[in-house]
Symmetry: C2
Subunit: 286 residues, 2 copies
């Protein structure tokens, strides 16, 4: 297992941790200031959201690299299914391709897929997972052309209805198996999978080529809001050491991306404090 007690090169900031700096939450720092604050602390990578990037993908990617950061990824595709997806298949697929273009322009090697929930008019996860499979299979070659890998991110089953019919690493790998694209894999977020006792086995099944991301936060025992009450590493009940050991035991050697949605706690704090605590916890609690 890698020793991160004095090494933050594999630590990455997902900008959601600062409350989506550009959309009115949090301190409202511009992207440049976030990039510099990461670089000053030796944080190795950064992951942006589309809403922050807008039409500035090439510029922002270059600026991050000039500051010494990797751009480790982009959040995220549109929902591909479910009640929150765009109205038409054509709109969904067009926006899916746009998100790939943005990742390519940014120089982000990984684009995260959040599948969307249960397709209206259907019941259970199965038919929606089939739809997701079809839509990802259709777009994966285009992503490959643009040098972008697609990371299916299973979300906690509490989001199964509206945000993600994909709820386990097992199901994500089943989709990967069905599609068989070399640029398709899985993003593993501790918030979503910490409870899954077969996770280690599924990670070994995935193997290093399909493990495309590892997202850190913590599951608070007394979670008050399933969207916006994530914990800082060490403050919850997830076995963060065990989870990272399982990832690395399966061959993962990539970045550890901190993604904390926390409307009532971390998003209300000074971003400098949040980044300092994040670095400290990465060294001591992960």
């Amino acid at each position: 297992m890698r020793d991160f007690s004095n090494d933050t090169s594999q630590l990455a900031l997902n900008t959601a941790t600062l409350g989506h700096n550009l959309d009115g939450h949090g301190a409202g720092w511009p992207v440049e200031r976030v990039i510099n604050a990461c670089a000053e602390r030796g944080i190795g990578g950064i992951v942006f959201w589309r809403r922050e990037v807008g039409s500035r993908a090439v510029e922002i990617g270059a600026r991050a690299r000039a500051a010494g950061l990797r751009v480790d990824g982009l959040c995220r595709t549109p929902f591909l299914t479910g009640p929150l997806a765009l109205p038409s298949r054509q709109q969904i697929m067009d926006d899916f391709r746009s998100s790939i273009d943005m990742a390519a322009d940014l120089g982000a090697p990984i684009l995260t897929i959040v599948t969307g929930g249960v397709e209206p008019g259907t019941k259970g996860a199965g038919p929606s997972l089939d739809l997701v499979t079809d839509r990802v299979a259709e777009v994966a070659p285009y992503a490959a052309e643009r040098g972008v890998s697609l990371a299916l991110e299973p979300l906690n089953p509490v989001y199964g209805g509206n945000r993600s019919c994909l709820t386990t690493v097992r199901d994500a790998l089943d989709i990967c198996d069905r599609i068989g694209a070399p640029n398709l894999g899985v993003a593993v977020d501790v918030y979503h999978v910490w409870w899954d006792t077969e996770l280690s086995m599924q990670l070994r099944r995935a193997g290093p080529e399909r493990l495309l991301g590892y997202h850190l936060c913590d599951w608070l025992a007394d979670t008050r809001d399933v969207l916006l009450d994530r914990g800082m590493m060490g403050d919850g009940v997830a076995d963060l050491r065990g989870l990272r050991a399982a990832m690395e035991g399966a061959g993962y050697g990539g970045p550890c991306e901190v993604e904390i949605f926390s409307a009532d706690n971390w998003w209300k704090r000074d971003p400098d404090e949040v980044l300092d605590v994040m670095v400290e916890r990465f060294r001591t609690a992960c």
Copy 2:
């Protein structure tokens, strides 16, 4: 698959559906009125909560049977682990035995176990599942003496931190395998497991002897509160027909218990209306 379109003999009311009639929610109907309202509609069974029964277990059980109802179960054991459990091991085990006594006095063949969450001072589900296993193994013989079967109920992973380290039928069966008690099995609640794509396989693994209960409600796509916003059958995204087919395909032939926690909707309605809708949906949507 059984045809329930004109048969409510296997329908059971879990009294939570009426807002825990005796604890200040809902209409405040006394137990006797609930029993009569079920009997009048041809509902075959009823499941009580300990708080409603108090010291009247023998009397209430007899009254239900006199009205023509089965008492199909009792909710529930105390939490065996986690932040919401009683302070000491002794208190937990004493209350566990008391809940068995109440089930026996009531004439309820099944007592539901809700395990409790992650034990303070530990991380991940594993150590808490071990604790649950030890505690259930210790008490199972006493339950057998009293003629009570124990049904481990996995809860949705959203409750993993505080209410149930047990989140899948797979893990419940692993505990059953480890303990090997003939009066230990699993209760399957569609709210908690609807998203699990390996459910059918795990139900076949369980077999009829270990499938001790089947709980109905629905998962609303836009669930606003994970404790108290359950849907009526047909109003959500769970594949209720498919789930019952999987249960029965695995040999289940017992009751279907409707358990709907719904503070802002069903609990605010006239209990007579709730029961009427429940019967109709059982016939048409399950």
